[in-house]
């Protein structure tokens, strides 16, 4: 029996059993509700439609024990299952209909914040914003991923990726994972790390080999290896107030940047200086945040609608101011601030950087602002500058009229980088959606090579009309672990309601994948799912065989949905096709 879209209907007795596990009100087969798990961001690129497969049932377990019971039932019945936390993105769903979807929303507790040992134990539905709010009360902070503070801390740490703009001081989600609780694909529950012995979650490594290595790498298994029901993540010191008090009303919040904190946008003559600056500031360990936002999303973040963005953007000046890094300093006291800012400015000087946005006014800032703008104008040309001047002036006057001070940009920047609250404004508002590309975790120098290549490829897809003309340079990313490695991904904005984008978008992705392989630009963040594995694996020690080995050993029935993880046969079929010189459809 099927529904109107062909979804297989779950057997009544199995449904009853599932409902018995989670309680009647926490299980549903209602198509209208199921569809809200099928409709997903980037589904139109992944499967060519706004909807992924429709699950056969959605259950809302409230505990690890309930998750275990569901997974065991799925094993007994041979049902595919997939868990989501906040469930954002096609990776939370499967292309085919009928799986058992576990929505972990009810598991939403911060189990513990160990203030002294600087870690938190969280359940799946704790998100960056809630953990941060609680952590800041005790002088700590959490790594929030670039997707935004509305995403699950656990999902990022155990199952997805983990890039974020404060990575230079807060690391990467993989690296922040400590102990974790894992409902394995067969329903066994394993607590990995120190907890079983010590009652505390301070490490996930050992005894002996670290099983952190089994469950994720650069990417996670995206729900393809059981369900993670609890995890501990590192927290980091926070030298700001327990709460950032905002003034004003949405969409225009204002705040005072705390003492000994500061935010800057620094413009460089070119990419090479940006490389040097990133490496030097990284190793100097003075930045809370250091990242690159391209001009288009930066301007979008500062404006309250597409229209106001367009007014500012259309003159063309900003598109030319692309060699920038955003830096936030959060020092503990005046002495440390003096050191950090002193070092920042020494390095700025060496790299010919100019502060075009700064949270404090001094002669240095004003001189840099003028020179930075002059550099932007020089790059843009006289006509572009003239065309841009009036809207910019209008925008500034309007901001001043609203009572914003000249450091308004710096304040918005500070808020965005600390709270990670402006992603939707900075990237989704334009056309509705975006795809990302390139983005390997590698040395900062190579990250910038990724950005340059991404821009080059994207320009051609803009010319074809498939992507929004965001100036082509729309790399986003930063450095991690004091500059140990970085990432710059090339964002490509499109309109998911437009068939031109739906059909053409994948072409851009394919071009960037080929470029990263042919030009040795490291392992792209797009290397997820069988077609992508097929593209990369032969150039990367046939890694898919080992990944598939893990999957097959721990989930021989392949019930934990592996659409965004690994299927050996599927991947090898694509590899054979590629080796035969065929073009493969990178959609799933």
């Amino acid at each position: 029996m099927t529904t109107t879209t062909g979804t297989p209907i779950l057997r009544d007795e199995v449904y009853a059993e599932l409902a018995g596990i989670v309680g009647e009100e926490n299980a549903t087969r209602e198509p209208a509700i199921l569809d809200t798990y099928a409709f997903q961001y980037i589904a139109e690129i992944v499967v060519g439609d706004s909807y992924m497969g429709r699950p056969g049932v959605v259950v809302l377990p409230g505990s690890a024990e309930e998750v275990q019971a569901i997974v065991r039932l799925c094993n007994r019945e041979g049902l595919k299952y997939k868990a989501v936390s906040t469930g954002w993105g096609a990776y939370g769903a499967a292309p085919e209909d009928g799986l058992v979807q576990l929505d972990l929303r009810r598991m939403n507790r911060i189990v513990e914040i160990d203030t002294r040992n600087m870690y938190a134990v969280v359940e799946p539905y704790v998100v960056g914003t809630t953990l941060q709010a609680e952590a800041m009360k005790v002088g700590l902070n959490t790594h929030i991923v670039g997707a935004g503070a509305n995403t699950s801390v656990l999902a990022s740490a155990t199952s997805v990726m983990g890039q974020g703009t404060t990575g230079v001081s807060t690391g990467f989600s993989n690296r922040n994972l400590l102990g974790f609780e894992w409902v394995m694909p067969d329903g066994e529950l394993l607590r990995v790390g120190s907890f079983e012995d010590s009652g505390e979650w301070f490490t996930g490594d050992g005894p002996g080999p670290s099983l952190r290595g089994l469950i994720r790498g650069f990417a996670g298994a995206f729900g393809g290896l059981g369900v993670f029901t609890k995890c501990a993540v590192k927290l980091y010191p926070w030298y700001g107030p327990a709460r950032l008090e905002l003034r004003g009303v949405s969409p225009d919040y204002d705040l005072d940047i705390p003492e000994n904190h500061a935010a800057y946008i620094i413009d460089f003559p070119g990419w090479e200086e940006m490389k040097d600056f990133g490496n030097m500031v990284g190793e100097a360990e003075i930045a809370f945040s250091m990242c690159h936002n391209a001009p288009a999303p930066a301007i979008a973040s500062m404006t309250d609608s597409n229209l106001s963005f367009y007014e500012l953007w259309k003159g063309g000046l900003f598109a030319n101011m692309k060699h920038t890094l955003e830096v936030v300093i959060t020092a503990r006291d005046a002495e440390e601030f003096a050191y950090q800012e002193g070092v920042l400015r020494d390095i700025e000087k060496r790299c010919r950087g100019r502060e075009i946005v700064s949270s404090h006014y001094d002669l240095h800032y004003f001189a840099d602002l003028v020179l930075g703008l002059a550099r932007g104008m020089r790059k843009a040309g006289l006509r572009t500058t003239a065309r841009s001047a009036l809207p910019i002036l209008r925008f500034v006057l309007e901001a001043l009229r609203k009572g914003r001070t000249p450091d308004a940009f710096a304040k918005t920047l500070y808020l965005a980088l600390v709270k990670q609250n402006l992603q939707a404004r900075g990237i989704f508002r334009f056309g509705g959606s975006f795809w990302t590309s390139m983005g390997a975790l590698t040395s900062w120098d190579c990250c910038i090579e990724n950005a340059k290549e991404g821009e080059r490829i994207k320009r051609s897809w803009i010319e074809k009309g498939v992507l929004m003309d965001d100036g082509a340079e729309n790399a986003w990313g930063g450095l991690y672990e004091s500059g140990c490695y970085g990432h710059l991904e090339e964002l490509a904005v499109y309109d998911q309601s437009d068939p031109v984008c739906k059909e053409g978008g994948i072409g851009f992705v394919v071009d960037t994948v080929k470029a990263t392989i042919e030009k040795h630009l490291a392992f792209s963040l797009n290397a997820v799912g069988d077609p992508m594995h097929a593209a990369y694996s032969p150039h990367v020690f046939y890694y898919h065989r080992h990944l598939a080995g893990i999957k097959e050993e721990f989930d021989p029935g392949a019930l934990s949905d592996a659409t965004f993880y690994i299927d050996r046969e599927g991947t090898e079929e694509f590899i054979r096709a590629l080796e035969a010189g065929e073009e493969i459809d990178m959609r799933l």
């Binding site: 198509p31 909807y51 809302l60 709010a133 609680e134 969409p251 998911q496 309601s497």
Partner: protein
Amino acid sequence: MLGRALADYEKDMTRCARCSLCKWPPLAQVKSIRFSQVCPAISRYNFHAYSGGGKMIVGLSKLKGRVDYSEEMLNVIYRCSVCGACDISCKYSRDLEPLEVLHTLRATCVRDGVAPLPAHRPILDSMRNYDNVWMQPRKKRGSWARKLEVKDAAEQPVDTLYFVGCTYALRPELSGVARTTVRVLQDAGVDVGILGEEELCCGSPAYTIGDEELFVENARRNIEMLNSLGVRRVVASCAGCYGVLKTKYPLVAPANFQVLNVTELLAELIEQGRLVFTNPIGRSVTYHDPCHLGRQSETRKEWNGTERKVLNHLVIQDPPKEFNRGTYGVYEAPRRVLAALPGVELTEMERIREYSFCCGSGGGAKSAFPEFALATARERVEEAENTGAELVATACPWCESNISEGIADAGSRLECASLIELVAKGLGGDVS
């Protein structure tokens, strides 16, 4: 907007990123995990469909013929107080209209004959038959003011019409607020009148339930009558009436009067020195922003333009469209009134102003899903208790009533009071 179909919002619904931002306040405003949710429906029912974005998807699925009406689907659509918090959070970043989609979903249900829900029918019938939502005969509408000396605006010219609303007029436990309002305004020298039995329901419940035809009929009759009175301004102390008079009536017909909420007028009178408080209140207070006085009180301007794409896929509106983002809601006036009251110590809750957490009463939730409404109220009560305040002040009979029930249900020691009652107390008068 009125008279729209789901098809009119297809692009909005398709462009939902399913980011879930509609579930939280604008993220930078989240102050704790405990009070981090902003949507009562998703907080209670958990399935994504219950969120603002979820309902956008339900709308899209309906439009595309992927799903058909069912009891559970109607639950998804109606277990919602249409408080608009999702809309604010979404529009902090996006140029989308989730609240309009929510409304249009309901209007579509009514047009398709699957709504109103059985629990809503008596209310709408009462509006049709008695011009009030409480199934009371028309002539009882004026009895709250029987002992008051107040001008009948239908009979003699007045500067300011006090629009009382069904609930203050017909619920004896709340009608003291209406009397107090008149007395306070009179004390301040406002030339105020009322319509007594002639007053009609504002039509708000019909709008929120999705019966646009009934709403338009009500609105048209009201606008005609109010226009005919020649008053300078209409003051409402019910946030529901105020919200609909101010923001939805302009979609129906032009009005020749200004619409004010009583808190705005009080703040003005205080600033003019026409209300002088002598009696200390001596209470620690927290303030609950009613949705229709706060984020939903921005006048909606009819926009019949088209979408245009520039830079290949940057979506803009032609002619430019003013999005209602909750920026200009009435947030300051009630707080200015509270600040002026002697002996009031105001402690804010975590979710306030444009991202306030709803009391749970609106959108027909109270009548159709009382358990949901009560659970929502209890959530708000807990948040209020968390401030340490003794009293929750508000400016809406629906909020006051539901929060009071929440207090009773929780066994809380909090009290809930209308702002006007505190004003009366500050003036030294008795309440009611």
